[in-house]
Amino acid sequence: MSNKHVISLELNGDAVEFLCEPRQTLLEVLRDILHLTGTKEGCSNGNCGACTVLFNGRPVVSCLVLAMECEDAKIRTIEGVACDGALDEIQNAFLEGAALQCGICTPGFIVQAQALLDENPNPSEDEIRFYLAGNLCRCTGYDKIVRAVQAAAEQRRAATTAG
């Protein structure tokens, strides 16, 4: 018995429709149906944050969201972070600061850092570590990641002041 449903949502600014089963998570749909493989599958139980996406502007772990719940939602994934082909400040800061090794956790960290800086443009180190606590990295330790987020925040603030 097939119980597929049509879901319509806004994905990285574009209207998207797909067919899915109730048992499929948003993560599965993003990767296996929509082929947006930037969002990574880590633990699949909500612990690691590798699959973080923005759901109506809030960061969520897409492994703990049913695709059926996303009707009419606005979803933003790592693919929607770069703007007109230019990397976002956070992406640049991760590259410049070598804040990654294997890279599996990186899309989740970048999306989560975006949510942080949208909410709090000038976070302290403690605030950064607390906000990113739901993202696990098993390669680098967290210092370079925290420094990259601080650098991105500084760059954004400088751009805002200049602009």
Binding site: H5, P22, T25, R58, P59, L64, V65, M68, E69, G134
Partner: protein, 298 residues
């Protein structure tokens, strides 16, 4: 995940009917942070998942003469994002700040935390301390159950077939009162409580004597506990460190913790005493309007 049907009813009565008709083979879905994981691992295999998080009744966050009406599906971030909750129901805001990480707090609700009925649920001791009442909708009449009577065993609660926890009602905050929730975990964040303690303290007008107190304890018994006799015994006592230390010692005597990977029973007893003392001190400071040094995640 196993195959199931999904339904997002538009009214609470439709949700109750669907749940009742499913004869135990349906689960309500709010934030999904417990349920979806439990379905992934096969612990629950409902034939029907009923998405209740868009029901207006389950999304209220309102203050009136009865106090705070909190819809059971309101996610944590909306709770600690409401300045009046931070101010008047601080223990609840404290708990919501440390349930999982920020991503979990975007979705997880205290209603779900309560219905999952884990012994270590962070929001439950906070709600016990705040004298919260569960408002339960069902095929019959709506009924009310005090939070401390809601959980009956690990993973079990008083909900009958077809019933849905709709709202949690918090009585108005009395003058000269404050509350706090704190837990002990081996890291700074993103972990399950080894012990969790919530406390509410109301002071006499002198600001020095305890008028009433309520202590909720988590992860030290099969269900979150109201330390009823201990709470009552604090009335009339001076709000001083020596009272708080004695309360901590008394709390050690009424708990029945287990030994597991998070700690031994003996360790939990030790931690319970320390936390009760510190949480009472912070709740008292807040009752006096003093700034609290507590920072979530520390």
């Amino acid at each position: 995940m196993h195959s199931f049907e999904y339904s997002a009813p538009h009214s609470l009565s439709d949700a109750v009917s669907l749940l009742a008709q499913a004869e135990g083979n349906a689960r309500p879905l709010a934030g999904g942070t417990d349920l979806i994981d439990q379905m992934q691992t096969g612990r629950f295999r409902p034939a029907l998942v009923i998405d209740i998080k868009k029901l207006p009744e389950l999304n209220v966050l309102e203050f009136d003469g009865d106090g705070l009406h909190l819809g059971a599906a309101v996610p944590c971030y909306r709770i600690y994002g409401e300045p009046r909750i931070v101010q008047e129901y601080s223990a609840l805001a404290d708990a919501c700040h440390i349930i999982g990480g920020v991503q979990i707090q975007s979705r997880a609700s205290v209603g779900g935390n309560l219905c999952n009925s884990g012994p270590a649920a962070d929001s439950t001791p906070a709600m016990i301390a705040l004298s919260a009442i569960c408002v339960i909708a069902g095929p019959g009449e709506t009924r009310q159950v005090p939070v401390e009577e809601f959980c009956t065993a690990p993973g079990e609660n008083v909900l009958r077939r077809g019933e849905i926890l709709a709202e949690i009602l918090f009585p108005p905050r009395p003058a000269n009162s404050g509350s706090h929730y704190r837990r002990f975990i081996p890291r700074n964040e993103m972990d399950i409580a080894v012990v969790g303690v919530g406390a509410f303290v109301e002071l006499e007008d002198d600001g020095q004597t305890i008028k009433t107190a309520r202590i909720g304890l988590g992860a030290v018994a099969p269900t979150p506990l109201l330390a009823e006799d201990l709470s009552a015994s604090l009335s009339g006592k001076p709000a001083t460190d020596s009272t708080f230390v004695s309360a901590g010692e008394a709390a050690r005597q009424i708990i029945t913790p287990i030994t597991d990977m998070r700690g031994t029973a003996e360790y939990r007893k030790q931690i319970t005493g320390v936390l009760v003392q510190r949480v009472l001190a912070t709740a008292t400071a807040r009752a006096r309007g003093e700034p609290s040094e507590y920072k979530p995640g520390k």
